[in-house]
Amino acid sequence: MTATRLVAVLPLTLLFLLPLVAALVLVLPGLLDATAFASMIAHPQFAGALWLTVFTGLLGTGLAVLTSLAIVHAAGSRDLSRGSGLFLAVPHLSLAIGLAFLIMPTGVIARLLAPLLGWTSPPQWVTTQDPWGFTLIAALVLKETPFLVWAFAALLNRDDMRRALDGQVAVARSLGHGPMSIFLRVILPQLLPRMAGPLIAVLAYSLTVVDMAVVVGPGQPPTLAQLAWTDLNDGDAATAARGGAGVLILSGLVLLLIFLVGAALPLLAPLRHRLLASPPRQDAKLFRLLIILWPAWFCIYGAVMLVMALQSIAAQWPFPDLLPQHATAAAWLRLVQDSGPFLTTFVLALATAMSSVAAAVAWLEWAPRRADRIAALVAVFALCLPSLLVGLGQYRLFLALGITGTAPALFLAHVLPVAAYVFLVLAGPYRSFDPRWNAVAAGLTAQPLRFLLRIKWPMLKAPILAAAATGFAVSVAQFVPAQLAAAGRFSTLPMEAVTLSAGGNRPLIATHGLGLMLLPLVAFLLAGWFGQPRWRMR
């Protein structure tokens, strides 16, 4: 028994817990540098960056939560998980690039308007780098909403959840409540506590995102994450130390905001009671308009992809022209010829996703249940930390081990967030597996392994595959930790894309943005296909 337990907890511990703890232990003392802190706080852009970070992070998260709820509500009993999975496949960086191509002063929208308004030169729109960060907020909402929808859908698809809610909804309707009233009073209050993980992850991500902010965020001042990232990469040791202090302040800000939101929730209890105990209400007709939200998301992403596809083959595209003058496959040829980064990204994603799923399953199956909470907490904690902090810590760890620029370092750098996501995605469905099956199976076969292989795991195939696809997508999108660990010896697609984006070759940027999307998209489609029950596969 003890041996089994050890084997159960070892993989996840080695892949995830131990490296995380070691990374933090190594990085934190170095960051506690009073001089660096003082100089970060004295940075002329610090106050502005702090305000901008809080503003964009909170507003972005808040709007994403509201829109995702509206979408989940409007969908009623339709399953949103498959549609939303496709959105997850789109990396943040790709979306930001495509969105910029769409709305910038020389973007497609301006080109569409040009003949109507008689423009010959691009309008002086403040659509990117707007000082308030509204474009960044829009990009965050566009990207995080489907993630939340997907998390809601995953929750709603759980057998136990679905059974209970279906019955409760039927009862609530018979009591005279309309769908909106039921959503607010019956469904939402039961979903939200279970959504703490994804919600925290979205807030943390919105506060700490680097790549999206670089593409569509303001620069004077930038967000705190951008400010720290710029400093961190400075050749001057004191400036780099200031960047480290920035990373630590950012981490503290994330924890503080999460704590404040958590602390504010009990204050809402009277409001909650009034909501729950209010009389039956039928829906206002206006709510029916919400039904257009989800299709709108498909349209926006479709437009973003279309613009990127157009940009990727555009040889020359002077302003008022709606279409490029010539088409060229040069950028795509480059992607194919330089297949190294593509292959590295693919192999890494496959290896990290598979090992994370194996480690998570081992943990969930054999580790004591008490340990689940610890693992889940650590995973959520890891995802709350800015990737800057974790990346720096891993970099210190790899330096100490002397393995920077080796394949193991690259694997470890990628597997950490992958394992965290896979564990969180899988834990719910795995733990809600109806224990009565164990009893039923015990009567049929005595061998526990046979039960797992023939009954339990096949029954859990959809969530296991979904977790694998999520892990795959997370791995593909890694930039900061990958860049630091690779030490230039390896290149992955996002590293290539970010490097190229400094060069301003739009076709090449667009090609890489689309290429970056392709891998996870295929993973999600495959997971969706193989995850459905056998009898539904055509």
Binding site: T106, S121, Q220, D234, G235, G488, T499, A502
Partner: protein
């Protein structure tokens, strides 16, 4: 405080310094070439430009076939990352470092030199160094007023150059004052990248030089006191310009490449570059129209040299030297000089080369070539950079 920190760090770093093996300049060149065979050079070089990447790929292929040396282009966005990586590796005691050769100059060079992170001296012992025009191009020995001391090998020449579509800009503004008038007449259509992007930093250095009556002081190390006597005029000049910049000078494009793209799109009217041949290169690539014009300021613009250097913990020091030597060869320099390839001006004294070699450096007058040249001005000493960047950020970095 900043300097004391740096000093402490330097002392700390020097404790970890490996004993110099001395193979570099003492050993004869054939021995180095022999040792280089089979080695791999990880060449860390900024990769934001396709023509440059393609050129490095060509050079790598040549190294493989001629010397049996494998060159891997490690594509980076900012050379400062490399400085940081080498420092961290040396501090961690890593002898087989991840960087064998780095494309570098200016402040990054000064940092690596002062922290003793560079291998050498080696460059003046390279066979092709004899061809370098050290008299005509003094910046090959003084990098941002910092003595090179053989710690980096000159690779190419640069001079701040402006460009525009001639159809839209009839009379190019050839001074900061003229540029300010131009911007006032075309509000929102002029911009420069925000420092610390190095084109942005160069631009504010150019403003500094043009704001001073006698720029001689800038070649000496700066301090806050000295800077404060130049600061008001410099700021007044920037203030006047910023009023009519893109986004009224409240936001700035993030890189030179972004500015170039915006010029190509017609969103901005004037672009800037450190490579005088880039405008012609852009015309050749179809990014800019054939009527593109390029110019330098009447009283001159900042010019400098860019180099390659070998970190102290490089694993393939021999191969790195062979590659640095090849990059300085007339053949490699001529190809680099070709506008259709890259268009980066040579560091060699072309007049001292054989006639046929000289011919290979001739660039046919291409559309987009610099038509109104100005003299090359020396970079201010590297110590001015943090002062200027800090002052700029304080005044203009808050939106």
């Amino acid at each position: 405080m900043l300097n004391r920190r740096r000093l402490l760090l330097t002392t700390a770093a020097s404790l970890f310094l490996p004993v110099q093996t001395g193979t570099a300049q003492a050993a004869d060149w054939p021995a180095i070439e022999a040792a280089a065979k089979g080695q791999t050079v990880y060449f860390n070089a900024w990769a934001g430009s396709d023509p440059i990447n393609a050129y490095i790929k060509w050079a790598a292929d040549e190294m493989k076939s001629r010397y049996g040396v494998t060159v891997e282009h490690v594509k980076i966005t900012d050379t400062a990352e490399v400085v940081k990586r080498v420092r961290d590796e040396v501090a961690a005691g890593k002898q087989d470092g991840s960087v064998d050769l780095v494309w570098i100059n200016g402040e990054n060079f000064r940092t690596m030199k002062s922290e003793k992170l560079l291998f050498g001296p080696f460059s003046e012992a390279l066979p092709n160094y004899a061809l370098v025009d050290t008299e005509g191009k003094p910046t090959t020995r003084q990098d941002f007023s910092e003595s090179v001391d053989g710690l980096e090998a000159p690779w190419g020449m640069a001079q701040l150059t402006f460009f525009a579509d001639g159809a839209k800009v009839a009379e190019p503004p050839r001074s900061i004052a003229a540029l300010t008038r131009f911007a006032a007449a075309n509000p929102g259509r002029v911009a420069y990248p925000a420092p610390p992007d190095f084109h942005g930093t160069t631009f504010i250095k150019q403003v500094l030089i043009e704001s001073a009556i006698s720029p001689a002081a800038f070649s000496k190390p700066a301090d806050r006191m000295l800077f404060s006597s130049y600061q008001p005029v410099w700021e007044a000049m920037l203030d006047a310009l910023h009023k009519s910049l893109w986004r009224e000078g409240r936001q700035f494009p993030k890189s030179q490449a972004e500015v170039t793209q915006m010029v190509a799109d017609g969103e901005l009217l004037i672009g800037l570059t450190f490579n005088p041949n880039e405008p012609a290169n852009l015309v050749a690539a179809g990014t800019m129209p054939a009527g593109t014009i390029a110019w330098q300021h009447e009283k001159g613009t900042i010019g400098n040299t860019h180099f390659v250097a070998i970190p102290v913990n490089a694993r393939s020091k021999e191969a790195a030297q062979v590659f640095a030597n090849f990059l300085m060869s007339p053949e490699a320099q001529a190809r680099k000089n070709d506008i259709k390839v890259w268009g980066d001006p040579t560091v060699l004294a072309v007049s001292r080369l054989a006639a046929d070699q000289q011919a290979s450096f001739a660039n046919a007058a291409a559309p987009g070539s610099v038509s109104l040249p100005g003299p090359a001005l020396l970079e201010p000493h590297a110590s001015w950079v943090p002062l200027l960047e800090d002052a700029w950020l304080k005044r203009y970095g808050k939106g």
